[in-house]
Symmetry: C2
Subunit: 114 residues, 2 copies
Amino acid sequence: MKPSFEIQNLTKSCNELLILSTVLDEKKHGYQIALEIEEKSAGYFKFNHGTLYPILHKMEKEKYIKGSWQQEGPKRKRKYYTITEKGKKYYAAQNLGWHDFFQQFMKLCGEKSA
Amino acid sequence: MKPSFEIQNLTKSCNELLILSTVLDEKKHGYQIALEIEEKSAGYFKFNHGTLYPILHKMEKEKYIKGSWQQEGPKRKRKYYTITEKGKKYYAAQNLGWHDFFQQFMKLCGEKSA
DNA sequence: TTAGATATATAGAGAGTCTATATAAAAATG
DNA sequence: CATTTTTATATAGACTCTCTATATATCTAA
């Protein structure tokens, strides 16, 4: 299946948007991102840590987010991520992409049952 | 990301529902299924044949569809697929799953931009 | 002091999609 | 009549992504 917009892998895009949505307003660290997504969705979305960190690294490498190690007080170091301009554009584009996808998908598979 | 319903791989589920949606009413063969999805979505969804056939085989193996080779008139043999009872239940369940997913996803990632 | 929560990271397995290729027959074109 | 295009199905190999499991380290609470 190859929609005309960037989504080849819906799960990947979904994961990326969920992550980006949490850093739209302010910097967050990985563990915090995972918690926030889980809490905001009442447990519906739940990241494995073994899934989350590789995605964060990939997104940093692709410059959608920027990470920096920080330490406040006696706490252990945490890597905080902020969204980049490229990331904001990507988020907006993918968001529109999902809108189109929903519409198209519902048109074909919208009936509740056979 | 692990939603509570069966969707671990959104693309896979999407592909399966698109295919099932075409055989809800009547039997179809692979090539016909691909064409119908492409036409109904005005080119938005487009299956590679190298993607379509393995999925059909997998779905047949899992008994969501049943295939049978048939030949009408002088035409070459074609493998026609019909949906099974298990397939209908699966379609309905996944359809509800997508509804929940859309709602949850939009709640977190619904804003058009940053 | 020990257990549990916080916090990040990666290796290896497993699953799925994509590109490319192979085969074959019917229909259309020259 | 020969050739090309379209119809039709199939699979191998590469590539990518997610998941499980494991490793490391610190802080907090019992």
